[in-house]
């Protein structure tokens, strides 16, 4: 053996030899990591713990020594290491470290010949085998339902999904329990042999029980009584069969007291339901030896529990294994019962309880740091609208709201409000939920879902509606808009609150399926941008942008704005003349910039969410989620006008009828008081009693006072609401909403269409960007860009036909039985279903990767098995984002909804590095 380098222990250099563990080298230098206790050199006991390179609770016997390592003996005498509270922060791209997702037929967990033989046998049967061998520093931390085997390897964390698990983890040697067992110089038999083989000088060794191999020692007969010595062992006392005690002087003791199978993983695996195949082989499968009940000494070194302690709690009524554990905390330390379980069992059996099973086996079988465990974790991604970079460029403070990044304010929200009230302003409302509905039963579906009549809605018109759940509580609100065309079954566009679109989609699909209705649904939230143009000069701005026709209040229609095809909805949340421009997301930036340019001299500036919330509050418009609770009935939020109980059955109708018969307890009302406005959440008092709280509150510059929405309890159990209340120790009045422009004249102002000016005609000739986006097949390697695709929702048969028509000509991604993405223009005439929804769509971003790169990326970011055939389509979670994959022989295309593209690109970049 040649000398190696050195590492530092508490600042002092310790030299190590090749293949030394940290423990080997420390013992050679006369240092016991924790000061004393029987060492096992097998990772089972807590006696070789130390802090290594800043990480505490490292078993030094399991770590190969290397130069530059820094060891602190923080665990001496059972003490706990300090917290290093000044650890540097995570960076935004931290993901915890690398992880690999692997699949195999058999995973063999263990060490030694039994495991190796099992692996060889499985391989000989043609199975794919993964061997996780602790001698190669692969440590299994847990077996989870699935099954999923999570292991730590020198290369990073491994998440393995095996068909079968073979546990060949061997057995741990039972530790001695006797006075003096916390001295140094005590070793299990295997440890003594291992250290001797490593060339560690142990001095005069006495062996109790079977002697260690490869080592000169004195073998003594009898049972262990105690160890003697100061700091380190100098003698061991044993009792012979006759009862006589005899002392043997020594420098080290080897103890062989039997075995406890290392069956934590086996028990963990067997605790998992389903058809998980687990085989436990070798020593791990043998029954545990039950040692003699100890007379005195420390049973649990982690929690310093002695036999006397066990007796004390036993005598006071703690007579089950679990109660003894909880009362003494034996078995709850870092070795998780590795040392004490055999003795707890023998103690309880000796005192008269039945022989009890070990504690439930729980992860972690091997301890790893939070940092290691977090490998492959991601934050919940926050999508960004197509205008996200524009907002940031304009200096907006961004806010996570409704699950999206939204501009909270650009500068002064009061000025933003002023622009809306007095001039014109634009707001990015792309986050609104947007859904198309068609099909023979489209009207039937909406009629049954919404509490408002839908059949009376005329073509080209829209209507505000609540969405109720079965309890009659408000789930969401938005618009129902009927398409313009008057022939055939009606088609609809629905809007929902930001963040409400997934809930609305799954809600609609669930009901449509359970009612067996024939409908087509297309969620366009991610693919359509929306910009609200609002203010007295909103129409002026749109005319300047070359818009030829604008819908009247409550109407909607298609028109071009600055050359971009838009569906314009005339409605108003701000209370001013407003046009909401829905357009292909790929056109958002061009449209936004053009509107700001054209409106510059009108005073046009963007407004953020903060201003929007104030403006709508002046109008008394509720915000679902802020002003509503999860048990808000239409009556409670004073929206009974939005419910027609006699229109036929709808979701929540019986609940609304039922609750309407019960006296009203509280209502959401309008309130006003002198400025300053109280905070949102301020408590409302009535005659000294709690009456409710404020849900929305703002100082209204237009009205010169504070306006609020808030919950107010009814008086005396009838429907009477107090007229005067107290908020923040000041008087407030209940008033009708809206606070501002009660008659709604500003929002409903009639707009005349002027003759187009030459500059307007020129502005209208702007070009749509979305139509010139690349096709999927045209995207480049590695970096994501927005692509143009055709999206079709139709009957299963029509989709299958379409797929055949385009087979070989264009990439077709069969998203679902009734939905397809085609990488080519598709016209409605090409789809045999007359109710089909056909859209040219710019809501996806795509990138291409060479197949080897893609395979590496996917092994590091997703756990599912990819299809083996080519070409193939797959979709699911990649880096915790909803990704679609088109797999060809040499390339893989990654598609992701564009609002997630930046996030995906970053996450794949991290996975690659």
């Amino acid at each position: 053996m040649s000398p190696g380098n050195g590492f530092r222990v508490d600042g002092a250099e310790v030299v190590f030899l090749n293949r030394d563990s940290l423990l080997d080298a420390m013992l050679r230098a006369g240092l016991h990591p924790t000061g004393g206790g029987c060492l096992c050199c097998a990772g089972d006991c807590p006696h070789c713990l130390a802090t290594v390179d800043g990480v505490g609770y490292v078993r030094t016997c399991q770590v190969r020594a290397a130069s530059e390592m820094s060891v602190s003996r923080d665990h001496q005498g059972g003490s706990y290491p300090p917290l290093s509270l000044d650890t540097p922060p995570l960076t935004p791209d931290s993901t915890g470290g690398p992880v690999r997702y692997l699949h195999c037929d058999v995973v063999v967990i263990g060490q030694g010949e039994t495991g190796r033989a099992a692996a060889a046998e499985a391989e000989a049967q043609g199975k794919s085998v993964l061997a996780l061998d602790v001698t190669e520093e692969a440590e299994v931390i847990g077996i989870y339902p699935g099954p999923l085997v999570v292991a730590r390897s020198p290369a990073g964390m491994l998440h393995v999904e095996p068909g079968e698990i073979v546990v060949a983890t061997g057995a741990a040697e039972i530790q001695p329990v006797a006075p003096g067992s916390d001295l140094s110089g005590i070793f299990t038999r295997r440890a003594a042999a291992r250290l001797a083989a490593a060339g560690v000088e142990l001095g005069r060794v006495v062996a109790i029980g079977e002697p260690p191999t490869g080592l000169q020692c004195e073998v003594v007969e009898g049972t262990l009584v105690r160890f003697e010595g100061e700091g380190s062992v100098s003698a061991v006392v044993v009792a012979t069969a006759g009862g006589a005690q005899r002392s043997y002087s020594c420098a080290a003791v080897s103890v062989a007291l039997g075995f406890q199978p290392r069956d934590v993983l086996a028990r963990m695996a067997n605790g998992i339901g389903g058809s998980l195949r687990v085989r436990v082989i070798g020593e791990a499968a043998k029954p545990a030896d039950v040692p003699a009940c100890p007379q005195e000494g420390i049973v649990c070194p982690c929690s310093q529990v002695s036999v006397a302690h066990l007796d004390a709690v036993w005598d006071r009524g703690f007579r089950e294994m679990e109660l003894v554990k909880r009362a003494t905390l034996a078995g709850t330390g870092t070795c998780q019962g590795g040392v004490c379980i055999p003795y707890l069992r023998s103690f309880l059996a000796d005192r008269g309880a039945e022989l009890q099973s070990p504690f439930t086996a729980r992860p972690l079988a091997k301890q790893r740091t939070l940092g290691e465990i977090a490998a492959g974790a991601y934050y919940h991604a926050t999508p960004r609208t197509a205008l996200d970079a524009e907002h940031r460029r304009l200096g907006a403070q961004m806010e996570r709201s409704g699950g999206w990044f939204r501009p909270w304010r650009y500068a002064d929200p009061a000025e933003e409000c002023h622009a809306v009230r007095e001039a014109v302003s634009i707001c990015d409302v792309s986050t609104l939920g947007k859904m198309r509905v068609s099909g023979p039963d489209a009207l039937e579906l909406l009629e049954r879902l919404y509490p408002t009549p839908v059949s009376t809605l005329k073509p080209g018109r829209s209507r505000y509606a609540l969405l109720l759940d079965e309890k009659g509580y408000v789930l969401d609100d938005g618009l129902i808009c009927r398409d313009e065309r008057a022939d055939g079954p009606p088609r609809y566009r629905l809007t929902f609150t930001s963040g409400g679109s997934t809930l609305a989609e799954l809600w609609m699909r669930d009901w449509a399926e359970s009612w067996g209705l024939d409908v087509r649904l297309m969620n366009q939230t991610m693919s359509l941008g929306a910009i609200n143009v609002t203010g007295p000069m909103a129409a002026e701005l749109l005319f300047r942008a070359g818009t030829q026709t604008l819908p009247s209040f409550g109407g909607h229609g298609v028109s071009r704005v600055a050359g971009v095809s838009c569906r314009i909805f005339r409605l108003s949340f701000t209370g001013e003349l407003s046009y909401e421009l829905h357009h292909a997301a790929g056109d958002s930036v061009a449209l936004w910039r053009r509107l700001l340019e054209l409106g510059d001299d009108l005073g046009c500036r963007p407004h953020g969410l903060d201003a929007l919330l104030r403006l709508r509050l002046e109008k008394g418009h509720i915000l679902v989620g802020q002003d509503t609770d999860f048990d808000s009935t239409p009556r409670r939020i004073a929206h009974e006008w939005a419910v027609k109980l006699d229109k036929g059955d709808f979701v929540g109708r019986l609940s609304v009828l039922r609750t309407n018969r019960i006296p009203l307890d509280r209502q959401l009302v309008g309130l006003e008081m002198e400025s300053p406005a109280p905070i949102e959440g301020a408590v409302i008092w009535h005659e000294g009693e709690f009456a409710g709280y404020v849900t929305s509150s703002t100082d209204s510059p237009a009205l010169g006072r504070a306006v609020m929405l808030g919950w107010v309890a009814t008086v005396d159990g009838d429907a009477t609401l107090p007229a005067e209340v107290t908020i923040a120790d000041r008087p407030a009045r209940r008033v009708a909403t809206p606070f501002y422009d009660r008659e709604g004249q500003r929002a409903r102002v009639v707009v005349e269409t002027p003759a187009p000016t030459a500059s307007a005609v020129a502005a209208g000739r702007g070009r749509s960007n979305a139509t010139s986006l690349p096709r999927l097949e045209e995207v480049g390697d590695g970096s994501f860009c927005r692509v143009s695709l055709s999206r079709v929702v139709a009957t299963q048969a029509a989709i299958s036909e379409l797929a055949e028509v385009f087979a070989g000509e264009a990439v077709c991604l069969r998203v679902a039985a009734d939905e397809i993405l085609v990488d080519a223009p598709v016209s409605a005439e090409q789809v045999s279903d007359p109710h089909a929804l056909v859209e040219r769509e710019s809501g996806f971003a795509a990138a291409r990767f060479a197949v080897e790169t893609a395979a590496d990326l996917l092994r590091a970011t997703c756990e599912w098995c990819l299809p083996e055939s080519r070409p193939a389509f797959a979709q699911g979670s990649v880096a915790d984002l909803p990704v679609k994959l088109w797999l060809e022989e040499s390339h893989v295309f990654f598609l992701v909804p564009e609002p997630f593209a930046l996030e995906l690109e970053q996450r794949l970049g991290e996975a690659r590095s």
Binding site: R362, Q367, K471, F630, T659, D665, I679
Partner: protein
């Protein structure tokens, strides 16, 4: 020498009788506390608590031991503040060391909307006697220096609330203190006695069937966690409860250096240091109903990552153990307790993720109900019939995590 060893409590077991005035199903904190308050406040001691495993084996021994009253509605703030007050006095009252430590709860917001919610929390708390103040990021840093206010550059801390009376206590100690106190007064606690049916005469529940034979009772209280639907079925009762998994994990033991309980609604985790020095972390319930005690890796990984984001020092700590409890959720995230409409049968359920902090108040109030037959005002809002009466309790503050 281990200072955390239980050194005083004495549990006196005895054989079940055939009849009691009160039979309580479930030997967790809630059942035992009810027996304790029946005995100590009302002198009712002919009481049996039936536990199918060992005392405290369910959620009482699996929870994360947070005591707080910073809820979002007056009914809950009042109730949990009562419980918090009882907890503060419980060590003196029982003369037992419950390892009760006032450490404060710091609830962090990472958005303008989150800040708004925390301001609202402080308002409603102060109005009903809970000590909660809004705090700025600078104050957050003072209260808990290890917090990275930038949130890893991704989840910046924009404010929060500090609930100064927030506390922890050792769960097992609480269970045993109530068990011992009840036993000392003469109440019986029976382990390994499982209820298999309810005996009914007409519409009235008159006792229980058990694996140890029938036991008749003046009244029966179900204080079980996790399997309450099974017990309710025996009484012919439909209840609005779904059972879900709730998971947690601890690191190894470290020196006591970390003070408050830190919680984040956006990042969905909370963390505290136990009296023994473990860093303890939890998150929200799993969405799907489950009775499985099997722990999962997704929870562990995600929670570890989120916790590291705000508290970077956690990164190098080693995780010791993870575990799972099952908790009973009601549709409005508030407990269901009191009368059931079935004569002689009371219920205490719907404790979701906040059962531990409610133990003393729930025990005290249910004892009063059982002793007097009248529902005390403090728990009247939580009655089972509130769903039928359209008086659900929309507490967004409790729809959280612990």
């Amino acid at each position: 020498m281990n200072p955390y060893m239980e050194r005083k409590v004495e549990l006196r077991w005895c054989e079940p009788k055939q009849s009691y005035d009160v039979v309580i199903i479930g030997g967790g904190g809630h059942g035992l506390a009810t027996a304790y308050y029946l005995a100590t406040r009302h002198g009712i001691t002919n009481v049996a608590v039936l536990e199918r495993s060992y005392v405290g084996s369910g959620n009482s021994g699996r929870n994360t031991t947070v005591i707080r009253a910073n809820y979002g509605i007056p009914e809950a703030v009042r109730f949990y503040q009562r419980s918090l007050d009882l907890y503060q006095r419980l060590e003196d009252e029982t003369d037992r060391d419950l390892m009760h430590m006032s450490k404060g709860v710091l609830w962090l917001a990472h958005s303008e909307m989150g800040v708004r919610q925390e301001r609202a929390r402080a308002e409603i708390n102060q109005a009903f006697g809970a000590k909660t103040d809004f705090v700025t990021p600078e104050e957050v840093k003072k209260l808990c220096p290890p917090i990275d206010l930038s949130g890893g550059g991704v989840w910046p801390v924009m404010g929060g609330t500090y609930h100064s009376e927030g506390a922890t206590a050792r769960h097992d100690r609480v269970v045993w203190a109530f068990a011992e106190g009840a036993m000392r007064e003469g109440a019986h606690v029976h382990q390994r006695v499982e209820v298999t049916g309810l005996t009914r005469v007409g519409d009235r529940v008159t006792g229980v069937e058990t694996n140890a034979g029938p036991i008749s009772a003046g009244v029966v209280l179900s204080a079980v966690g996790g399997h309450v639907t099974r017990i309710a079925d025996m009484a012919g009762l439909r209840i609005p409860i779904r059972t879900h998994q709730l998971q947690a994990f601890v690191t190894n033991h470290y020196q006591l250096q970390f003070d408050p309980i830190v919680s984040s609604s956006d990042l969905l985790f909370y963390v505290s240091q136990t009296a023994r020095g473990e860093m303890l972390m939890g998150a929200e319930i799993d969405r799907q109903p489950s009775y499985s005690y099997q722990s999962g890796h997704p929870f562990l990984r995600a929670t570890a990552f989120r916790a590291m984001t705000l508290l970077p020092f956690l990164r190098d700590l080693r995780v010791l153990r993870q575990w799972t409890g099952v908790c009973d959720m009601s549709p409005d995230y508030s407990p269901v307790l009191g009368k059931t409409g079935v004569e002689g049968f009371y219920i205490s359920t719907g404790w979701g993720t906040w059962g531990f902090k409610a133990i003393p108040a729930s025990g005290e109030q249910l004892a009063q109900l059982i002793a007097t037959g009248e529902t005390p005002p403090l728990i009247a809002p939580f009655a089972l019939d509130r769903f039928r009466r359209d008086r659900t309790l929309a507490d967004r503050g409790s729809a959280g995590t612990h």
